[in-house]
């Protein structure tokens, strides 16, 4: 509740500043005049501007008081001059606040000043200054607001947000004054200013178009930064509001297009020409202004909601489109390819029907038919079942700890049907209507983590799989999801060799936290972006010779950018002592949580000695199962060199839901 008041105060302040930019812009665009009606309009708009600046200053003071109450921790501070002075004078935000409100006071003064339109230089200077100050007040505010709330946002996103705000001010803030001018000039008494109004609307139409283009580009950048994906757009409250905003914007564009068609009718020399068109246009612009206000309301609601990118989307359809299944099904690939080509032909036909008026009906029918045929061919191949939680992000990260916990649960709840190794060959599975899925098969990696979560929690009735809601808690079900992802990844990893395949990072290496003696816990994840990891799962005594070889080359490996991390396969906590004094081994030998790392990485290889090479983006790139398969040190350094030479920067694997 209290948070809502703060947001409302900021919203009023922002709206007033946006309106001021519009007022300053329309006065500047309209230009000087000596016609009585137009002069009266100038005075009225300037008066509205004064009210707006008063509103901006008052809401600004309110937000300063709000800030003081927040900082001091009690509501009384909002009315305590001492606390207010502290916030204004001793914080960086306060300094920006002082500067902005000085600008707003100056702006109000310029809007109050009587400007003689016959003095060309004075008029230009005063109006240009008004526009400059309004832009400054809005831009500075946006900059300060973003700098305060941005969480590591790129500068480009910040600049784009500010440009978006300024362009919206230029367009939305100018609409109401423009509608007023057109209405006055459309009245019988306003005949003296009709040419002036026509000129103004022409100029505004050019500027408005430019502002609209700017809004489109910066809006796309902002949407990408805040939403970022189709599920987030469709399935989150903020994404839904963005769709509403776009729908209102489409209506605005339709109204604006109708208005533009009226422009030629305004170009009459005589005072009577164009009057009905002018009144119609005034009504259209007023509708546009109302729609702009509606957009402002939607934006205010959007600001109050958490960013769609960080919210968990709810998928509302029973299917989703993805090309993932095509990788394993050549027949479906051909179908999808033919279908998509037919659909493209349909699109060409649709475009042709727009261009070629005489054959519009035939071409339109052909477009519809081709589109339908293409859809029927392609869609079944790329549409797969989806559930409300399909795009939910795992609540438990993909780590060795979670996977090891998942394996313990799997042995109790899943192995009876799916088999100890996940092959779908458990004894209880034989009696089911449909054989249990082979969890090692590549298809498991095509489902999202959310899909797997849904099947575990709700079961698959037709196949005889029971729901586990109630029997397992949410965290346990996510542990199972992580285990199944690891099993699928382990199946995929059979294709990996001791040498890397350049530029093909595909399998995410499960994160693992580890400790060496009484030192703080570290994790594979913190090596990302910095070091390559050579994870060595070892068993004594057969691994001793290899560990000694790596110890001898430790310096070279470190210089090459690789960190060796040795984990005893039996999960013991006294690995360092058992290795003994000879040879001297200085790379980390894991003592804490070696068990869960060994359990997880044993899914990928059952050999007593296995080496895993994890690139600096967190992807598993090479697996050498068995001490005999391990690369000699010079070859190993060569592979590390090839990883270092890679240019490709793949997305971080944890965000890449399989």
């Amino acid at each position: 509740m209290s948070g809502t008041l703060g947001i409302a105060i900021r919203g009023v302040h922002l709206a007033a500043c946006v309106g001021l930019v519009g007022v300053a812009a329309i006065l500047w665009l309209a230009g000087r005049t000596d016609r009585p009606t137009a002069l009266a309009w100038h005075t009225r708009v300037a008066r509205a501007g004064r009210w707006l600046s008063l509103a901006a200053i008052l809401s600004g003071v309110a937000s300063l008081a709000w800030q003081a109450a927040l900082l001091e921790g009690h509501a009384g501070a909002a009315f305590d001059p001492g606390a207010l002075a502290t916030v204004a004078l001793e914080t960086r935000g306060g300094h920006v606040w002082l500067a902005r409100h000085a600008v707003l006071v100056l702006l109000a003064a310029f809007l109050a000043a009587r400007v003689d339109p016959r003095q060309r230089l004075d008029w230009l200077a005063a109006r240009a200054e008004t526009l400059l100050l309004a832009t400054l007040a809005l831009g500075l505010g946006a900059l300060a607001g973003h700098a305060a709330t941005a969480e590591g946002n790129a500068a480009s996103v910040m600049v784009s947000a500010i440009v978006h705000l300024l362009a919206s001010g230029l367009w939305a803030g100018a609409l109401l004054p423009l509608a007023d001018l057109l209405r006055r000039a459309g009245e019988p008494a306003g005949a003296d200013s009709r040419a002036y109004a026509a000129l103004t609307v022409r100029r505004f139409s050019r500027w408005g178009l430019a502002a609209m283009a700017g809004l489109g580009v910066t809006g796309a950048v902002n949407a990408w930064a805040q939403v970022g994906s189709v599920p987030a757009l469709v399935g989150t409250p903020q994404g839904g509001l963005l769709l509403v905003k776009l729908a209102v914007l489409a209506a605005v564009l339709a109204v604006a297009a109708r208005g533009r068609r009226l422009l030629p009718a305004l170009s009459g020399e005589a005072d009577t020409v164009g009057r009905p068109a002018m009144r119609r246009l005034a009504r259209l612009v007023r509708v546009e202004a109302l729609l702009a206000l509606a957009i402002l309301g939607v934006v205010a609601a959007m600001i109050a909601l958490p960013p769609a990118r960080h919210a968990d989307p709810t998928w509302l359809l029973s299917f989703r489109l993805t090309t993932d299944p095509l990788a394993d099904a050549p027949a479906a690939r051909v179908r999808a390819l033919i279908g998509s080509q037919v659909a493209v032909l349909g699109m060409v036909a649709a475009l042709a029907s727009l261009a070629w008026r005489q054959r519009r009906l035939a071409l339109g029918a052909a477009a519809a038919a081709l589109g339908a045929v293409g859809g029927v061919l392609a869609l079944p191949a790329i549409a797969i079942d989806a559930y409300p939680v399909t795009y939910r992000r795992p609540a438990v990260p993909y780590t060795a700890g979670s996977i090891a916990a998942g394996l313990a649960l799997y042995r109790v709840h899943c192995a009876p049907c799916h088999g100890a190794s996940g092959a779908g060959d458990g004894p209880a599975g034989l009696r089911l209507p449909r054989p249990p899925a082979d969890l090692r098969a590549p298809h498991t990696t095509h489902h999202t983590a959310g899909d797997l979560f849904w099947w575990i929690s709700h079961g698959i009735a037709a196949a005889g799989m029971p729901p586990f809601r109630g029997r397992l808690d949410e965290e346990q079900m996510w542990d199972l999801v992580n285990l199944i992802r690891a099993m699928g990844a382990a199946g995929q990893s059979r294709a990996l060799r001791a040498r890397i395949e350049p530029e093909r990072p595909r399998i995410a290496a499960p994160d693992a936290s580890f400790t060496v003696g009484p030192t703080p816990t570290r994790s594979l994840r913190e090596l990302r972006g910095q070091r390559i990891a050579l994870l060595v799962l070892y068993t004594l005594p057969e691994s001793r010779a290899r560990l000694a070889e790596l110890a001898g080359a430790h310096g070279q490996l470190v210089v090459a950018g690789a960190e060796v991390i040795a984990v005893p396969r039996d999960g013991g906590t006294d690995g360092i002592r058992r290795l003994g004094a000879d040879p001297v081994i200085l790379y980390p030998v894991v003592t804490g949580s070696a068990g869960e790392i060994a359990t997880t990485y044993s899914l990928f290889s059952r050999q007593p000695h296995t080496e895993f090479l994890v690139d600096r983006h967190g992807y598993l790139r090479a697996v050498a199962p068995g001490a005999a398969a391990a690369l000699p040190v010079p070859d190993l350094l060569g592979e590390i060199g090839r990883l270092n030479a890679e240019r490709l920067v793949p997305p971080p694997p944890a965000d890449h839901v399989h």
Binding site: L106, A113, D122, A125, A126, P518, P520, A581, V584
Partner: protein, 121 residues
């Protein structure tokens, strides 16, 4: 006074204000940098004492050096594996690879020596 002159004055004031702010900010940052640079110099040359905890990775008896994978040594060094010289050879008696130890370092940076060592379970 003509309005355009007022506008000119206002803009000059704006530019002046921005420049003054810029300069002041720069001065503040420079002063901070100087303070930061001066801090380690003031510390060097003083005899100091640090405490650490770690696991023994190698005992180089003839050199009197203990290689320890240690946690954060507050005020001196982040976690890493490195060798420390023992002040007396007797300190290394009975210490084996794999032992968890608590140790005390004393000396002027960077010439620190282990002056006390105890094994922890």
């Amino acid at each position: 006074m003509a309005l355009w002159k007022a506008v000119l004055l206002v803009n000059l004031a704006l530019v002046f204000g921005v420049t003054a702010g810029w300069v002041r900010w720069g001065r503040e940052a420079a002063a901070l940098r100087r303070e930061l640079a001066a801090a380690p110099a003031a510390v060097a040359g003083l005899e100091r004492e640090f405490r650490g905890e770690g696991v023994v990775r190698a005992v180089l008896g003839e050199a009197g050096v203990l290689v320890i994978t240690h946690g954060d040594i507050a005020g001196y060094m982040p976690p890493m594996t490195m060798g420390f010289r023992a002040a007396a050879p007797a300190l290394l008696d009975g210490v084996e690879v794999g032992d968890s130890v608590r140790f005390v370092l004393r000396g002027a940076i960077p010439h620190l020596q282990i002056v006390a060592l105890e094994r922890t379970p």
